[in-house]
């Protein structure tokens, strides 16, 4: 009996010592993201990408010999839920670094919590300019901000197209309006005259009246900010009315998704659009990641996935360089990040009123023979751009 109780006490004592030792061999990272609701599609893509990266990290010995274990919490793209999740992670779980979220509204809420509790937060795919403009010390963002989204497109205009006039068509939503405003500002900088700037109702059936006006105005460039299917309908009716311009350009969203080519068919040809990342980029690991993702899930990921995938490597890199795994030490080491990832080079800079913001090259893609090809900047190009484009009459 005595011996038994001794054994029990021994095991108990052992377990007290053993528990931290066991725990010390793993590092658990809980990631908040939307897995239900409207944004679930993107949340799921990011979750898969985080998991793929964690697998690779663990296959190569983990982070400082510690196994990386990921867990996910669904915020449903609701800022208040995201906030509650992160408060718990920091206060109760004492997680020294926060990664994740998708919508700008959620990222804003999380950023405020992280800053208040002095815990570093790495943003992967939220684009609202404001988030990194508030002089937050603990908030880092690796994706490009809204204001710079069309940079590549604008430099393509400046260096290749050299337009004198531009027509801007945009859908009457916050997204469309801010995209149109940004382009109007860029046009003013380039000295391009905006001959038309008109909005339309998303989901319209007939754009012909609007487009015949565009035709009469004869702009050099037609720039359109549209969501999903309006983009393809616009191009279809542009083809049908034979509205000719030097270039048709789209502000990402509806113009950079596979459904665009699928629905617009040959009318999509030669259309140029802005985007943040493509699987054709020559960054180390970009192609491998995209192929692996496609093999597993049947389709290429968008920049959301690539950024999430790379975020795990950014975290690994920061943790490896950190003096200790306390929030402040991790913050300092994140600040010193200089890492090449599948998403691109990551360096957190303070400039243009942004703090801890990674400024990366944005891209321009063009539809060539029914495929998206990266065309600009030239060092990232998968194919040479096609310019000038043929008129509609020549295309038959």
């Amino acid at each position: 009996m005595k011996r038994l109780s001794f054994a029990v006490v021994f095991i108990f004592v052992l377990s007290i010592f053993a528990a931290p030792v066991l725990a010390a061999n793993t590092f658990e990272l809980v990631i908040p993201l939307p897995l239900t609701g409207k944004q679930a599609k993107f949340g799921e893509m990011m979750k898969r990408s985080y998991e793929m990266a964690a697998e690779e990290v663990n296959a190569r010995g983990g982070i400082k010999k510690k196994k990386l274990i990921l867990a996910f919490e669904d915020s449903g793209a609701k800022p208040e839920t995201a906030r509650a999740i992160v408060e718990r992670l920091i206060d109760v779980k004492k997680q020294p670094i926060i990664v994740g979220e998708y919508t700008s509204a959620c990222a804003k809420a999380v950023a405020a919590v992280a800053e208040e509790r002095k815990t570093p937060y790495l943003i992967v795919a939220s684009a609202d300019d404001e988030i990194t403009q508030q002089n937050y010390k603990y908030v880092f963002r690796q994706n490009q901000v809204n204001d710079h989204y069309a940079d590549a497109l604008v430099s393509f205009f400046r260096d290749v197209v050299k337009p004198r006039t531009i027509a801007i068509l945009y859908e009457s939503s916050a997204f469309g309006t801010s995209g149109a405003e940004a382009m109007a500002k860029d046009a003013a900088k380039l000295g391009v005259r905006v001959v038309m700037k008109e909005k339309y109702e998303a989901g319209s059936v007939d754009f012909r009246p609007l487009l015949s006006k565009v035709k009469a105005a004869r702009p050099d460039v037609v720039y359109m900010v549209s969501y999903v299917m309006d983009a393809s309908l616009l191009m279809k009716q542009i083809k049908e009315l034979r509205v000719d311009a030097k270039l048709f350009a789209g502000g990402a969203a509806g113009f950079a998704i596979p459904e665009f080519i699928e629905n617009a068919k040959d009318a999509a040809e030669y259309v140029v659009s802005a985007t943040l990342w493509t699987e054709q980029l020559k960054y180390p690991g970009a192609g491998e990641y995209a192929e692996k993702y496609k093999a597993r899930y049947g389709a290429y990921p968008s920049y959301h996935g690539a950024s999430a995938y790379s975020a795990i490597f950014v975290v690994k890199n920061a943790l490896e360089r950190a003096k200790s795994w306390t929030p402040d030490a991790i913050r300092d080491s994140l600040k010193a990040t200089n890492l090449m990832t599948a998403f691109g080079p990551i360096r957190f800079e303070n400039r243009e009123g942004y703090r801890n913001q990674n400024f990366m090259d944005t891209l321009a893609i063009q539809v060539q023979s029914g495929r998206f090809e990266t065309i600009w900047p030239l060092n990232h190009a998968s194919k040479r751009y096609i310019y000038p484009i043929p008129t509609w009459r020549q295309r038959r």
Binding site: Y200, K215, E259, N263
Partner: protein
């Protein structure tokens, strides 16, 4: 006016008329149901969405052209409409309730069920129009080489327009020349008198709802080649049909046709000369103006002329 301005005006009118033809067909089914049943069918757009999915899958699986699918989707929708009337709306009509319009609320529910079922079965992904001729067009300069202006006429839009006209004429013929058609009109004008004359009102209501659904089913097939498809597409077209029904006059087929054309041309002109962002505003200004100044709809103008009153 310069030739460029004339070109814009003519092109606007062409697209307004083509759009109006399609609108008219979408509105026709709702007007018919309204006339006979005295209820607004708010599942109208969703019924069209169902027909569009039928046409879409007919093309993807069996390579049946959407225009041929009219002859498949319209009967299927007729049957679906008959079932809805028989097993859902008729039982509700019998129930005494505080709200006299609970059939209308029922149609809202039916619409929600349909669009959610579509999301479940077909996901909320956008489906592209499957046909290859979606952007084919005829150009004035191809036929008249020295034409000072260039006008284009979309092939699928024109085909849809012609189909809409044929279907409308067929409906008119059915309503005015056949026995069943006359019975339907009698039911619409005065159900009690019709009942005394030996018209089977209940059957007429069932047929009417079927007919209305079949008409909007046909409209869906005609819309598929020129638009795209997703489960939540119904609402916006229910709204358009509603405006046309009010514009035309509740329950008047001729009014629906004129209402559709007027709305189509009006929207196009608004888009060209005021701004496309204003088109939805214009639509509802017109809607309210019509209710205030012309409560009988366009049809009341027609009648005044005919009887010299």
């Amino acid at each position: 006016m310069t030739s460029a301005q004339i070109e814009v005006l003519l092109q606007t009118l062409i697209s307004g008329i083509l759009l109006g033809g399609l609108y008219a067909l979408i509105g026709l089914g709702m007007t018919l149901i309204m006339g006979v049943m005295k209820i607004i069918n708010l599942a109208h757009g969703e019924l069209m969405m169902v027909a569009m999915y039928i046409a879409y899958w007919m093309f993807v699986l069996f390579h049946v052209d959407p225009y041929l699918s009219v002859f498949i989707a319209a009967p299927v929708m007729f049957f679906l409409g008959v079932m809805i009337q028989k097993f859902l709306i008729n039982p509700v009509l019998r129930v005494e309730s505080i709200l006299p319009e609970n059939q209308v609320i029922l149609t809202v529910g039916i619409g929600m069920v349909l669009s959610n079922l579509a999301t479940m079965f077909f996901t909320s992904d956008y489906r592209s129009t499957p046909v290859g001729y979606a952007t084919d067009a005829l150009y004035l300069s191809d036929y008249w080489k020295s034409s000072p202006i260039e006008l284009s006429l979309s092939v699928p839009w024109s085909v849809s327009f012609v189909f809409a006209v044929i279907i409308t004429i067929a409906l008119w013929f059915f309503l005015s020349k056949t026995d069943t058609g006359k019975s339907i009109r009698a039911t619409a004008q005065d159900p009690e008198a019709a009942l005394l004359m030996g018209v089977n009102i209940k059957l007429m209501r069932v047929i009417t709802f079927g007919l209305g659904s079949g008409l909007v089913g046909a409209a869906g097939c005609l819309l598929l080649p020129i638009y795209y498809l997703f489960p939540a597409l119904g609402g916006q077209f229910t709204l358009i049909a509603f405006v046309i029904t009010i514009l035309g006059r509740l329950g008047s087929a001729m009014g629906a046709i004129i209402g559709g054309l007027v709305l189509g041309v009006f929207e196009s002109l608004t888009a060209t000369y005021i701004g496309m962002g204003w088109a939805p505003v214009g639509r509802f200004v017109m809607f309210i103006a019509c209710l205030v100044f012309l409560p009988g709809g366009v049809a009341s103008l027609l009648r005044k002329k005919r009887f010299g009153a």
